[in-house]
């Protein structure tokens, strides 16, 4: 347990230490300032705008910005869908994978453009290398870049005064990809290869085993390049079916640390960028602290539950719950990862979440159900959190009878309508999806476990898709027409409704005048506000999900004592 505490403390310290300089760097990039890569990349950047027929100083209003973002994602969706269906007749397919079913292609395309990376398939037995690197890897990048772009549109909404435009989606997307995601992925990918993550276009390898001389297949592929951005972009979709539990995807303690840090790095750094951008670093710090409090609380519960609540067997050394975990990660690094991956909307796993102890399983589910705002997705986590901040400001304003203000902008009815869309779409779609799945006549044949834990498998699946996370209780059989279609629709709605609402919120905010903070203005940069914010998040999350959680993990916990 001492090692686990030391490891967790080191992780948090490293995360904070790395996120501050990166946050400043991201702010400079997105604000068009000079950084050390400008010299090398600016010519490429200009060339891209020229090819697209746009310019570096193009300005878009909210409608144009939203239309560009949606259109870009639609193009990505169509491309990926056809790539999946037609992979059988395309090159870079040494294992001769056939085209996928149309509903699996729909689900997978929806999943990857929405930064969810829910996977109803196992990569090594379903997908060609071409789909992996030219389809999925690309979406790993651009879905994360889209999140960063929209976040900065919202930030500009707060900063700009009486302006009708928010910048250009194309410029934001290009800068986020070129200056932030590609360089970071480059470093991480090479570090991972050095640890033993595979990176090759060669076909799978057949070897003979030592005892018995049986044939064993070693799956290969261009994995490390995709895994780097899978973590950095909070995507989470594994190159192989067993994701980061699979040793060829995550072979050592060091590769595990690098990947776990990569997951929270950009979402944490964006809090710092936010503080920089609004010229008040305390505003960013308040959000960072709020997220960190949720994270540490969740990590503590998950770790203690895994270490101490597993069943004890006569004649077996008791050393925490090891079912579904790799030896090199053990209880500590597995519980840490489970918390990290569900706090962020990442969803990759280094241990099987279905085999987590009931309380740890509940923590991972609840982190998703809060709306993926505890760090959350790249960009989307922070714009989701900012919606909760506005909601908190609004509720506090109502309590004292004053017009609510945030960062010098009045919060008015239109803004609150957008906030409600952002805050309420995920829980509504999660619960509707769960309810629909449960009443399907053959739903019991999709689950591995029985009783309360079986219900948890379904609730987890729709919490994951309904919050763009993508992890799963692996016992849930996902590749059915119902789950593929319903889940695909949910993932698209839950990504693009809040995203569009955020852009329109930004557009409305940008048009407002700045009002000077008076004596009655609620400060949003002190610990009192952190407390209020935590309260609002918990109330919304708990009110929405306690009944469902009581039927799943809570019943599971008490039922098996």
């Amino acid at each position: 347990m001492n090692y686990i505490m030391l490891q967790d403390t080191f992780y948090i310290a490293a995360l904070i230490g790395l996120s501050i300089p990166l946050g400043i760097y991201i702010y400079k990039v997105m604000n068009g300032q000079k950084v050390f890569l400008t010299h090398a990349l600016a010519p490429i950047e200009k060339k891209i705008y020229k090819l697209m027929g746009t310019t570096i100083d193009e300005e878009m209003n909210a409608t144009q910005y939203a239309r560009s973002a949606l259109l870009f994602n639609t193009v990505g969706f169509v491309f990926l869908f056809f790539l999946l269906v037609l992979q059988g007749i395309m090159p870079f397919n040494p294992e001769g994978m056939k085209g996928t079913s149309w509903h699996l292609a729909f689900n997978t395309a929806a999943s990857f453009i929405s930064n969810t990376n829910w996977q109803a398939y196992a990569g090594e037995s379903t997908l060609s290398y071409l789909v992996q690197f030219s389809g999925l890897t690309v979406q790993n990048f651009v879905s994360a870049a889209t999140g960063i772009a929209v976040l900065f549109a919202l930030i500009r909404g707060f900063v700009l005064k009486q302006k009708k435009t928010l910048g250009s989606f194309w410029v934001d997307l290009t800068r986020a990809t070129l200056y932030i995601l590609i360089p970071l992925s480059f470093i991480v990918a090479l570090l991972l290869v050095s640890q033993g993550v595979v990176q090759t276009f060669s076909p799978y390898k057949e070897v003979t085993t030592l005892e018995g001389g049986a044939t064993q297949i070693i799956p290969l592929g261009p994995a490390a390049s995709q895994i780097a951005i899978k973590q950095l972009g909070t995507n989470g979709g594994g190159f192989f079916g067993m994701n980061s539990a699979f040793p060829l995807e995550n072979p050592t303690s060091l590769s595990n640390l690098i990947q776990a840090l990569s997951i929270l790095l950009i979402p944490a750094a964006l809090c710092v960028s936010f503080g920089k951008a609004v010229k008040d670093s305390r505003q960013g710090r308040v959000i960072y602290i709020t997220m960190m409090i949720f994270f540490i609380a969740a990590l503590t519960i998950a770790t203690l539950s895994e270490q101490y609540t597993a069943p004890i067997f006569d004649g077996v050394t008791f050393s925490g719950s090891m079912e579904g975990k790799e030896v090199i990660h053990g209880v500590g690094a597995s519980a840490l990862w489970a918390t990290v991956t569900t706090a962020a909307s990442n969803g990759s796993v280094n241990a099987m979440h279905d085999s987590l102890t009931p309380l740890a399983g509940m923590v991972t589910m609840f982190l998703m159900q809060l709306g993926e705002i505890v760090f959350g997705g790249v960009g989307s986590g922070l714009y989701g959190m900012l919606a909760f901040v506005l909601l908190t400001v609004f509720i506090s304003g109502l309590m004292v009878g004053r017009t609510p203000e945030y960062l010098g902008k009045k919060v008015e009815p239109f803004d609150m309508k957008m906030v409600c869309l952002i805050v309420l779409a995920p829980p509504l779609l999660t619960l509707l999806g769960t309810a629909a799945a449960v009443v399907m006549p053959d739903s019991t044949s999709w689950i591995t476990n029985s009783g309360a834990h079986g219900f948890s498998e379904i609730l987890y699946a729709f919490s994951s898709m309904g919050n763009n996370n993508g992890s799963a209780f692996g016992g849930f059989y996902a590749n059915t027409a119902f789950t593929n279609i319903a889940g695909g629709i949910i993932m698209l709605l839950v990504r693009f409704i809040p995203m569009t609402a955020t852009i329109f919120l930004a557009g409305n905010m940008a048009q407002k005048k700045n009002v000077a903070a008076g004596e009655g203005t609620l400060s949003t940069s002190n610990m009192l506000f952190v407390g209020l914010l935590i309260g609002v998040i918990l109330i919304i999350g708990a009110l929405s999900f306690l009944p469902a959680l009581a039927l799943g993990p809570i019943a599971d916990f008490y039922g098996t004592r």
């Binding site: 490891q7 080191f10 891209i48 090819l51 697209m52 027929g53 239309r67 560009s68 193009v75 491309f79 690197f133 030219s134 890897t137 690309v138 790993n140 990048f141 990809t177 590609i182 050095s194 033993g196 595979v198 990176q199 090759t200 070897v207 003979t208 030592l210 005892e211 064993q216 290969l220 261009p222 490390a224 995709q226 067993m242 539990a245 699979f246 303690s253 069943p311 077996v316 050394t317 008791f318 050393s319 719950s321 079912e323 975990k325 790799e326 030896v327 090199i328 990660h329 690094a333 796993v349 280094n350 099987m352 279905d354 085999s355 987590l356 009931p358 591995t448 476990n449 029985s450 009783g451």
Partner: protein, 185 residues
Amino acid sequence: MKNNNLLKSAIICFGIMTFLCGIIYTAAITGISQLFFSKQANGSAIIITLKDGTQKEYGSGLIAQDFKLPEYLIGRPAGTSNLSPSSQEQQTLIQERIDWWHSFDPDNTADIPMDLVTASGSGIDPNITPEAAEYQIERIAQTRNMTEDEIRHIIEDYTSKRFLGFIGEPAVNVLKVNLALDGLL
């Protein structure tokens, strides 16, 4: 911008991104990896030169192989259960594995380490804990007519430590130990 132009921009932008992130980036990483980390990038194969000079591949150091003979170190149960650790099905499975160990090695009365009776996440965990290796030393030594210290020494050679002394868990690579026991590695 008109809608038509916007669609054109979106398609061109997507094309550029596919070229940069899908093709250039993947090709660059693959090239550098094959150049500098060719062993790791190709699956960490264990290639052994036999006495007659031929090279033989014995699998990957990262993927478990099935061992059931008493002279070998035995790894974790294969496959992934996805069962709740507290479920009845899981308890039955674990009891079966405990019974298997007791009938396989009836003289061993020590407690069985947890990792030997639980399935991993990958289903092909190449490692066991040092305790799980220690649990098997006496049996392997007796079967092979070697001393326990000789076996222990080989196991230590293929045990990875915690990174920086506190990150992750120490682990014994089962396949490498068994290759060394057979005098191949």
